[in-house]
């Protein structure tokens, strides 16, 4: 999603904007369809109840039957279709949000509450309906669909309508002799042509602005409302805080265990070996020497283990030179052909640097294990207050975040920094993973030597 500050004003962009307006009008029609189903349910129920209570001059038996039929139809729609329609409405609204960002330059966040926790099981009807109807965002979606059906679409198709009018009513009569020139007093071919061209030009120039306006209108209803946004933020923060603390605690336990079973145990063994050497050094110098060498070898192993541990906590090159160099060093250690491109002129905050580094490590491990790729491209850049890292391989694709825990883990770790991960991995490849973490860069450290 790239938020542009101003729409581009070129004929191509204008034409694209006009067509995109048409697409939005199409979405409006889909919304109206959903609205009809929802209202059908409500109206049928109301009608059924109305006939039952008031009656309309029919015989009592006939009246009851008709009322029950209508009521049944209304309830049936309500029972079997309304939740799906509400979910479809969300999908439609989300599509509009995404397109508002991509086409209109007005990114719109998703405002929904997440479904109540129900591990692995489907929600029952009542809980589902409560969740959907209890969310103020659902009602704002409905408001949007209604406003869109009444006036929004006019904004969306205005540019295309103007352009088409210009072409059909003014330009075609000028160039073709089939249709006689449009009749209004004093029209001549040149005036028609000028008028037609002016209309088309205005339409093309205005299209991006009209589309932007449409995006803003959509955003005013589809974006999270102030309070809802705060609530979402609070929930996101508490979730990610808990996860960050859990991950941190687990990490510390792992380090403790590694030290305990590794270097610490080796040092104890070394101490005992040295003690044994000391006791026999007079009686059996040769055996003592062998023990001393054994102790030396143990110290080498202990150092190697500590080295591996440190590499897992904070890789040396990351500490020395920052993210881009550390990823470069990682690339040198991986049996893949990896092309690293970076335009960072500064360093992200250390925790973000570290999270990004380990995310890339994990992704490269995935590529090596699963993708059967020959080459991988890593692209690191910082634009608009956002650190963006793209990892693309030419492997066979089909990576699914729902299946592996690796991608989920990365997503969770990035979430602590409000970072996101997007993955595109069609079967047959290529796989492209993009990570975005909002952060500022600190100025590059000046060399002190």
């Amino acid at each position: 999603m790239v938020a542009r500050s101003r729409p581009r004003l070129t004929p191509a962009a204008g034409l694209a904007a006009a067509f995109r307006g048409l697409a939005f009008a199409g979405l409006m029609l889909a919304g109206v369809g959903l609205l009809v189903v929802l209202f059908a349910s409500v109206i049928l129920i109301a009608l059924g109840v109305g006939i039952l209570v008031v009656g309309n001059g029919m015989g009592p038996a006939k009246r009851t039957l008709l009322a029950l039929l209508i009521l049944g139809a209304g309830l049936g729609i309500g029972r079997f279709f309304v939740p799906s329609v509400l979910v479809a409405l969300r999908r439609l609204a989300n599509l509009t949000r995404r397109l508002a960002g991509e086409w209109c330059g007005v990114p719109v966040a998703e405002p929904y509450r997440s479904a109540p926790a129900a591990e692995g099981t489907e929600l029952n009807y009542a809980a589902r309906l409560r969740w959907l109807l209890g969310d103020v965002a659902t009602w704002r979606d409905l408001l949007w669909v209604t406003v869109n059906a009444l006036v929004g679409w006019i904004l969306a198709i205005a540019s295309m309508a103007l352009a088409v009018t210009g072409v059909v009513l003014f330009l075609i009569p000028v160039v073709s002799h089939v249709v006689p020139p449009a009749a209004f007093p004093g029209n001549t071919k040149p005036t028609l042509a000028v008028l037609g061209l002016a209309m088309v030009a205005t339409a093309v120039l205005a299209a991006p602005w009209l589309l932007r306006g449409y995006g803003l209108l959509a955003s005013s209803m589809l974006a999270p409302a102030g309070k809802a946004e705060l609530a979402l933020r609070v929930r996101h923060l508490s979730e990610t805080r808990t996860e960050a603390l859990d991950t941190g605690a687990a990490e510390i336990r792992r380090i403790e265990r590694d030290l305990h079973d590794g270097a610490q145990a080796r040092l104890v063994a070394m101490g005992m070996t040295l003690d044994a050497a000391g006791q026999i050094i007079d009686s059996n110098p040769d055996a003592a020497r062998a023990l001393l060498y054994e102790a030396r070898d143990a110290s080498v192993k202990a150092l190697a283990e500590l080295r591996a541990l440190v590499r897992g906590i904070h890789p040396p090159v990351l500490a020395d030179r920052g993210l881009a160099a550390a990823i470069q060093a990682l690339a040198l250690d991986t049996p893949l052909r990896i092309h690293v491109a970076s335009d960072l002129n500064g360093r992200p905050p250390a925790p973000i640097e570290s999270a990004a580094y380990f995310a890339v490590t994990e992704l490269l491990a995935n590529v090596t294990k699963h993708a059967e790729a020959r080459e991988t491209w890593i692209d690191i850049r910082h634009t608009d207050g956002m650190l963006r890292i793209g990892v693309t391989d030419n492997g066979h694709g089909g990576a699914d975040p729902a299946r592996g825990t690796g991608l989920r883990g990365i997503e969770r770790r990035l979430a602590s920094f409000d970072g996101v991960l997007a993955i595109s991995s069609p079967p047959g490849g290529p796989t492209a993973v993009t990570m975005e973490i909002p952060c500022e860069l600190s100025l590059p450290k000046t060399s002190s030597s």
Partner: protein, 214 residues
């Protein structure tokens, strides 16, 4: 042979000094930071400089930068860089800083003083001393390479030792085979990797390293 040492930890600096002196090397200067190293290299004109990677004030890659600066200042000054960890990225930069006279070893290697002093002498003579861990990782990176896979296990051992910078004599001693057998293996390796054979030990090492870094 005159040596300059740059190491910020007193215990290690002292230990290195005593160990090298015990093997008959002369310590021209022992300093604890990069700036002093550059000064000592200029004034003392040593045969070799031994530099720790982490030095004050930043305790990051000061030592690498100081080593590169020293080699720029006194071209082809032999430099042996010591570190708690080895990184291919740094190995590459050091190798690119001139032709030969470069060493990059884990600090643990000082535990075997005979081998370590041998590496110091080799670097001082314009040779190369790459840590076995650097070479192991270079080889691991080349597992997908058909030419490297075509090597026999023995040839791979010879290749690894050669890449560390050892001469045929040293390789023969290490693997307990004759020098002629080593020569045969190296000829075969150069044939399989399609490299120009060379009698010059140092040029041979650099060719192998350049090949593996691909």
């Amino acid at each position: 042979m005159r040596v300059v040492i740059a190491e910020d930890l007193f215990l290690l600096r002292d230990g290195l000094t005593r160990m090298l002196q015990a093997h008959g090397l002369e310590i021209a200067a022992a300093v604890d930071n990069g700036a002093d190293l550059l000064a000592a290299v200029t004034t003392q004109a040593p045969d070799v400089a031994i530099v720790d990677v982490r030095l004050p004030p930043t305790f990051t890659d000061e030592g690498i930068r100081a080593a590169l600066a020293a080699r720029k200042q006194s071209p082809n000054l032999p430099v042996l860089v010591l570190s708690q960890y080895v990184e291919q990225l740094y190995a590459r930069e050091l190798l690119a800083s001139g032709s030969g006279g470069i060493g990059y070893l884990l600090k643990d290697r000082v535990f075997d003083s005979a081998q370590f002093v041998d590496a110091v002498r080799r670097v001082a003579a314009g040779g190369t001393a790459m840590d076995p861990e650097v070479i192991a990782r270079l080889l691991a990176r080349n597992t997908g390479n058909a030419s490297v896979s075509a090597l026999s296990p023995r040839e791979r051992e010879v290749l690894a030792l050669m890449a560390e910078g050892r001469s045929n004599v040293a390789i023969a001693q290490r693997l307990v085979i004759t020098e002629r057998a080593v020569a045969k293996h190296t000829a075969s390796i150069f044939g399989k990797l399609d490299l120009q054979p060379s009698d010059d030990d140092n040029r041979r090492v650099l060719a192998v390293l350049a090949y593996l870094e691909g």
